[in-house]
C-alpha cells in the first residue's frame, strides 16, 4: 500500500520544476511592479519637491514682488520698468509716438508676431490723426474730461480703438509674458492700465489634408499647429451646444495652451475628471508635441502599446467625442489625442464608416488579418522552417529545401538579416526627401532582396515573407500602432526561434495576457472582446449597418447611450 503511494510521488526534479514555475511568474510580477513604480510614479512624486526647492527660491521672491507691482500711470517710469525686463531681446520693439492730443504713448511688440496691419491702421492711425475729430465729436458730458485732455481707459476702448480683441494687463509679469507671446502692448501717459491689443498672428500653415492618415473618401481637412484653428475646425462640425472645450496651461517653464474637448451630455464625468486630473498633474518644463502629453498621462509606461490615439483628422476626433471619448489638443501640435483608446480603434479607419457597411467590414477584417501577418509572419516562417517541416505541404517542403540549399544561416539569422534591413530601409525612407523616398524603397526592396537571394544570403521564400510582412504593416492605419507591431515582431521571431510554433503561441498568450490587463483611462484595451460585450461587437471586427448601431459603445459608460436622440 505504502509502496504504491510512494511510486506515484514524482522525483525531485519535478518538484524543482514546479517550484520554478511558481517562482518565475512571481519574480516577473514583482520586477514589473518595481519597474512600474520606478518609472511611473517618478515624475509625479519626485520632481515637484525637487523643483520647488531648487528653482522656486530665486524666482519666487522676485515673482512675488513683481506680481504685486502694478503700473504707476507715469509714462516714463512704466516704460523704463518694461524696458528693463525685455529690452534686451532683439525682436522686441518699442515705438514711441505722440498722440494727437499731445500725450506720449508707446507701442511694444514682438517682431513677426504682432498684427501689423491692425496696429498700424486701426490703432496708430486713430490715435495720431483721427483724435482731433474724435475728441470733438463726443457729447457734452464728456467734454469736461476732454477739456482736461484726459483720456480714460474706457474712453479709449469705447471710442478710439475700433478693434475687438483688447484686454488690460494688471501687472508687469503678465504684461511681459503676453507681449512675448505676440500681443501688442500700448502704454499711454496718464493711464494706469496698459492695454494689450490683438493677438499673435505669426506665420501659419494652411489647412491641408493630413499626411499620416490619407483617405480616399472623407473630408480633406487636417489639424494644423495653431490651437485656435484646430478648435475652430472642431466647432465647425455642426451646430452643437454640447461640445465643450476647456483650456489648461501646461509646461512649467514655457507655458502652452492645452484644450480638452468633450460632449458634456455624453461623456462619462468620471472619465472627464480623470483626464483633467492627469493633465493637471503634468509636470514638465516644456511640451513640444502632444506625444509628450500622451506619455505623461498614460496608464502603463512599460507597455509597448500606445494608450492614447493620435490623429490629425478632425472627423475622427468628432466621431470619438460622439462615442463619449475625450480629445486633447495641444497648441503647436497637429496631432490631437483621443482617450481612452481600445486596440480595435487603432485598426479602424474613418473610411469604414463612410463606405457602405459590407465593404467596410471587409476592409476591417483585412486589417485584422494584416495585423496578424505583420506580427507573426516571420515568426511562423522560422518555426515552420526550423521546427515543423511536417506542417508544410509536401511539395512546398521539397521546393523550400531546394531553395534553401545554399543558405548558410539558420532561419532566425536569415530572417533577422532581411527584417532588419527592411526596417532600416523604412526608417531611411522617412528621412529622405520626398522625390528620393520611393526610389529608395524600390532600390532597397527589389534590388537588395534580389541580390541577397542571388548571393545565397537568404532564400526566396523569406523575401516573400518579408515583403508580405512589410506590406501588411503598411495596411495598419495608425503609424504608432505600426511601430509597436514592428517591435513585437522581433520578439515573436525570437520566441519562434527558441521553441518553434509552441514558442510563438506562448508569445501570443503572453502578449494577450498583457493586453487583457492593460487599460486606457479605465477602459480595458481590447474591449469589447474582453470584457465580453456583445453589443459593442457591432462595431469591432464587423461594421454593421447604422440602423443596427443605435447605441453608443457600452464600454464608454456614457450619460446618453442612445445615438438617435
Amino acid at each position: 500500500m505504502w509502496k504504491t503511494i510512494v511510486s506515484y510521488i514524482p522525483d525531485g526534479i519535478v518538484f524543482v520544476q514546479a517550484l520554478v514555475i511558481l517562482i518565475v511568474p512571481i519574480i516577473i510580477y514583482f520586477t514589473s511592479k518595481w519597474l512600474q513604480s520606478a518609472l511611473g510614479t517618478r515624475p509625479s512624486e519626485d520632481t515637484p519637491t525637487e523643483n520647488k526647492s531648487e528653482e522656486n527660491t530665486p524666482e519666487n521672491g522676485k515673482a512675488e514682488t513683481e506680481a504685486t507691482l502694478s503700473f504707476t500711470g507715469k509714462y516714463e517710469a512704466d516704460l523704463a520698468s518694461i524696458k528693463k525686463k525685455i529690452a534686451k531681446n532683439c525682436d522686441v520693439h518699442f515705438r514711441e509716438f505722440t498722440m494727437a492730443t499731445g500725450k506720449k504713448a508707446a507701442i511694444i511688440y514682438v517682431e513677426g508676431l504682432y498684427d501689423k496691419e491692425l496696429i498700424e491702421v486701426q490703432v496708430m492711425k486713430s490715435l495720431m490723426f483721427d483724435d482731433a475729430e474724435e475728441t470733438e465729436k463726443p457729447s457734452d458730458d464728456t467734454k469736461k474730461s476732454s477739456d482736461d485732455t484726459k483720456i480714460t481707459k474706457t474712453y479709449l476702448m469705447n471710442k478710439m480703438l475700433p478693434i475687438s480683441e483688447i484686454r488690460e494687463a494688471l501687472n508687469l509679469q503678465e504684461l511681459i509674458s503676453d507681449i512675448l507671446v505676440g500681443s501688442t502692448a500700448m502704454l499711454i501717459d496718464g493711464i494706469v492700465e496698459v492695454l494689450l491689443l490683438g493677438s499673435a498672428t505669426g506665420k501659419t500653415r494652411s489647412i491641408e489634408e493630413p499626411l499620416s492618415e490619407g483617405l480616399l473618401r472623407g473630408p480633406r481637412v487636417g489639424f494644423t499647429e495653431i490651437l485656435s484653428d484646430n478648435t475652430a475646425v472642431l466647432r465647425r462640425h455642426g451646430k452643437n451646444e454640447s461640445l465643450e472645450m476647456i483650456k489648461f496651461q501646461v509646461g512649467t517653464r514655457a507655458k502652452k495652451d492645452l484644450v480638452v474637448a468633450y460632449m458634456n451630455d455624453i461623456v462619462n464625468s468620471e472619465l472627464l475628471e480623470e483626464v483633467k486630473r492627469r493633465i493637471e498633474a503634468i509636470n514638465m518644463d516644456y511640451l513640444p508635441e502632444s506625444g509628450y502629453v500622451e506619455q505623461l498621462i498614460e496608464d502603463n509606461t512599460l507597455s509597448p502599446f500606445q494608450q492614447a490615439q493620435n490623429t490629425e483628422r478632425p472627423d475622427r476626433v468628432i466621431n470619438s467625442l460622439l462615442e463619449g471619448r475625450v480629445a486633447i489638443l495641444l497648441d503647436g501640435s497637429p496631432f490631437a489625442l483621443i482617450v481612452p483608446v481600445t486596440f480595435s480603434m487603432l485598426l479602424q479607419s474613418p473610411e469604414d464608416y463612410y463606405e457602405r457597411w459590407i465593404p467596410g467590414t471587409l476592409l476591417r477584417m483585412l486589417r485584422f488579418l494584416a495585423t496578424f501577418f505583420a506580427l507573426f509572419a516571420p515568426a511562423l516562417y522560422i518555426s515552420f522552417i526550423s521546427y515543423h517541416p511536417g506542417l508544410i505541404p509536401t511539395k512546398l517542403v521539397m521546393s523550400i529545401i531546394d531553395a534553401r540549399q545554399g543558405v548558410p544561416f539558420p532561419s532566425l539569422i536569415e530572417a533577422l538579416i532581411m527584417e532588419t534591413s527592411i526596417e532600416i530601409l523604412r526608417e531611411a525612407g522617412v528621412r529622405l526627401p520626398k522625390p528620393i523616398g520611393p526610389a529608395m524603397g524600390i532600390v532597397g526592396g527589389l534590388i537588395i532582396g534580389d541580390a541577397a537571394v542571388n548571393a545565397g544570403l537568404v532564400s526566396p521564400f523569406l523575401v516573400i515573407v518579408v515583403a508580405v510582412t512589410a506590406i501588411s504593416s503598411f495596411a495598419i492605419p495608425s503609424y504608432s500602432a505600426g511601430i509597436t507591431l514592428r517591435l513585437l515582431r522581433f520578439l515573436a521571431m525570437f520566441s519562434a526561434a527558441v521553441l518553434g510554433a509552441y514558442g510563438t503561441i506562448l508569445f501570443f498568450l503572453l502578449l494577450f495576457s498583457h493586453l487583457v490587463k492593460l487599460k486606457s483611462f479605465g477602459v480595458p484595451y481590447i474591449s469589447p472582446a474582453v470584457p465580453y460585450r456583445l453589443d459593442d461587437w457591432k462595431d469591432f471586427i464587423f461594421r454593421l449597418p447604422f440602423k443596427v448601431m443605435k447605441r453608443r459603445p457600452l464600454m464608454m459608460k456614457t450619460k446618453d447611450s442612445d445615438r438617435k436622440k
Partner: protein, 398 residues
C-alpha cells in the same frame, strides 16, 4: 545615480538573457530529407549491401525485411540546375536496407545519408504480396502506426511483384510516391480503384479482426498500374490472394463506393456498348431467420449511354434504350455473381462490408456470429437486384 546603475544592470541582464536564447533543439529544413515512400519486401540484401557487409557493416539481425525508403529532394549542383530538366536524373533517392525491426532500418539510414529523414510527409507504403503472405501485417505496420511523425493519412498498397519496383519511375520529373498517392484520387473516373486505405482506417480494421482488401499494384518497365486488389484475411492478417480488376469493380458496386466509371458490355451482335455511371446507390438488407443470415443487395444507378458501335440503332428510340439497359444490367449481375462467388467460395472472406450492415441492422445477431464471421458469411445467401437507368445519350443522337 545609484538607480541609474540599477536600471543599466537590469537592461544588461535582459540583453544577456536574450543572447542566451540561441537556437537550440531546432533542425533547419534544408538539413533534412523528406521520406515520401516506403516499400517493404521480403528480406534480401542488395548487391550494395552485401558489399558493404563484406567491408564490415554488420550488426545482429535477421534478414526478414528489405525496406526501400524513398526520399526527396535530390540535391543538384548549380550547373545542373541551370541546364534544366533536359537531363533525366531522377528526382528521388531510393535507399535499401535489410534487417528485421523496421524502426532500426529507419535509423540505419542515418549511417548512410547525412541528412536525417523526417516521416511527416510519408505518402505511400507499398507491401509486396510475398512479404504479406509470410508475415502478419500487424507486425509490419506496428512502427508505422505508432510513430508520432508519420501521418495517419498515409496510403497502404499491395504489390504483386517486388514492392521496391513500384517506387521506381521511368518518367523523369515524376516522384513515384506522389504519383501513387494522386492516382487514388481518380476514383471518380474509374470504378476499378478502391477507396484509399489509409493508415488509421487500416489500424481500426486490423484491430477488429475483419478481413479487408488493399489496392494491388503491378509494374513493368518502370510503369506502375493499379490492378485488382490483394485480399487480407482478418484472423491471420496475411495475404491470401488477389481479386482481379473485374471483381474489384463488382466489390465497389456492392460496397456502394462507385463515384463514376464505366460498364461495358456487348450486344447480341457483338458490338460494344458502354454506360457512363453518373450516380450509383447500393442498399444492403439483412435478413435473419433462425441461424440463417441472408443479404439482399439492391443497386440503382443513373447513367448515360455513351458508346454504341451498332450504328443502325438510334438512341432516341425508347425500345433500344430499354434493351441497352437490359444488357448493362445483365453485365452488372454477372459481375456481382462472379465477385460474390470469389469471396464466398474461393477466399471465404467478407470484404464487401456485409459485416457492418449486419452489425447495424441486427446487433444482437452480430454479437453471436462475429467471432467466426468469415465462415458464417461464406455460408450465407446473397441475392441481388439491379436497376440501371439510362437518362440520356450525351450531345449526339447518332
Amino acid at each position: 545615480m545609484d538607480s541609474m546603475k540599477r536600471y543599466f544592470l537590469f537592461a544588461l541582464s535582459i540583453l544577456f538573457v536574450l543572447c542566451l536564447t540561441g537556437c537550440w533543439g531546432n533542425r533547419e529544413i534544408e538539413d533534412l530529407s523528406v521520406n515520401v515512400g516506403l516499400a517493404l519486401d521480403v528480406g534480401e540484401e542488395s548487391e550494395l549491401e552485401q558489399e558493404l557487409a563484406k567491408e564490415g557493416d554488420s550488426y545482429p539481425k535477421k534478414n526478414l525485411i528489405t525496406a526501400t525508403l524513398q526520399t526527396v529532394p535530390v540535391l543538384k549542383g548549380k550547373s545542373e540546375k541551370q541546364s534544366g530538366s533536359s537531363k533525366s536524373s531522377p528526382m528521388y533517392l531510393n535507399t535499401e536496407e535489410t534487417g528485421d525491426s523496421i524502426f532500426q532500418l529507419y535509423r540505419q539510414f542515418s549511417l548512410r545519408r547525412y541528412r536525417p529523414i523526417i516521416g511527416h510527409h510519408l505518402k505511400v507504403i507499398v507491401i509486396s504480396s510475398e512479404l504479406s503472405r509470410k508475415m502478419d501485417l500487424n507486425k509490419l505496420l506496428k512502427f508505422i502506426s505508432r510513430d508520432n511523425d508519420i501521418r495517419p493519412s498515409c496510403l497502404i498498397l499491395i504489390s504483386k511483384e517486388k514492392a521496391s519496383e513500384a517506387l521506381i519511375s521511368s518518367q523523369s520529373g515524376d516522384i513515384p510516391s506522389f504519383h501513387l498517392r494522386s492516382m487514388v484520387e481518380n476514383q471518380f473516373r474509374n470504378n476499378k480503384i478502391l477507396a484509399p486505405m489509409i493508415l488509421t482506417k487500416l489500424d481500426g480494421i486490423m484491430n477488429s479482426g475483419s478481413s479487408f482488401i488493399l489496392q494491388n499494384l503491378v509494374s513493368a518497365k518502370g510503369e506502375v498500374e493499379f490492378a485488382g486488389a490483394g485480399v487480407i484475411k482478418g484472423k491471420i492478417n496475411k495475404w491470401i490472394g488477389t481479386l482481379n480488376e473485374h471483381e474489384v469493380e463488382g466489390l465497389n458496386w456492392i460496397r456502394g463506393e462507385i463515384e463514376g466509371g464505366v460498364i461495358k458490355t456487348y450486344d447480341k451482335s457483338g458490338e460494344v456498348l458502354a454506360y457512363e455511371i453518373k450516380s450509383a446507390k447500393t442498399k444492403i438488407k439483412t435478413k435473419v431467420q433462425g441461424n440463417d443470415i441472408s443479404f439482399h443487395v439492391s443497386i440503382e444507378s443513373d447513367g448515360r449511354l455513351i458508346e454504341n458501335w451498332d450504328t443502325s440503332q438510334v438512341p432516341t428510340d425508347d425500345k433500344f434504350l430499354k434493351e441497352a439497359e437490359g444488357y448493362f444490367e445483365e453485365e452488372l449481375k454477372e459481375m456481382l455473381h462472379k465477385t460474390i462467388h470469389k469471396i464466398q467460395e474461393v477466399y471465404h472472406v467478407d470484404v464487401g462490408g456485409f459485416n457492418n450492415k449486419l452489425r447495424i441492422q441486427h446487433p444482437k445477431v452480430w454479437k453471436k456470429v462475429k467471432k467466426e464471421w468469415d465462415e458464417t458469411f461464406s455460408q450465407s445467401d446473397i441475392t441481388y437486384d439491379v436497376k440501371l437507368n439510362i437518362t440520356d445519350y450525351g450531345s449526339s443522337t447518332k
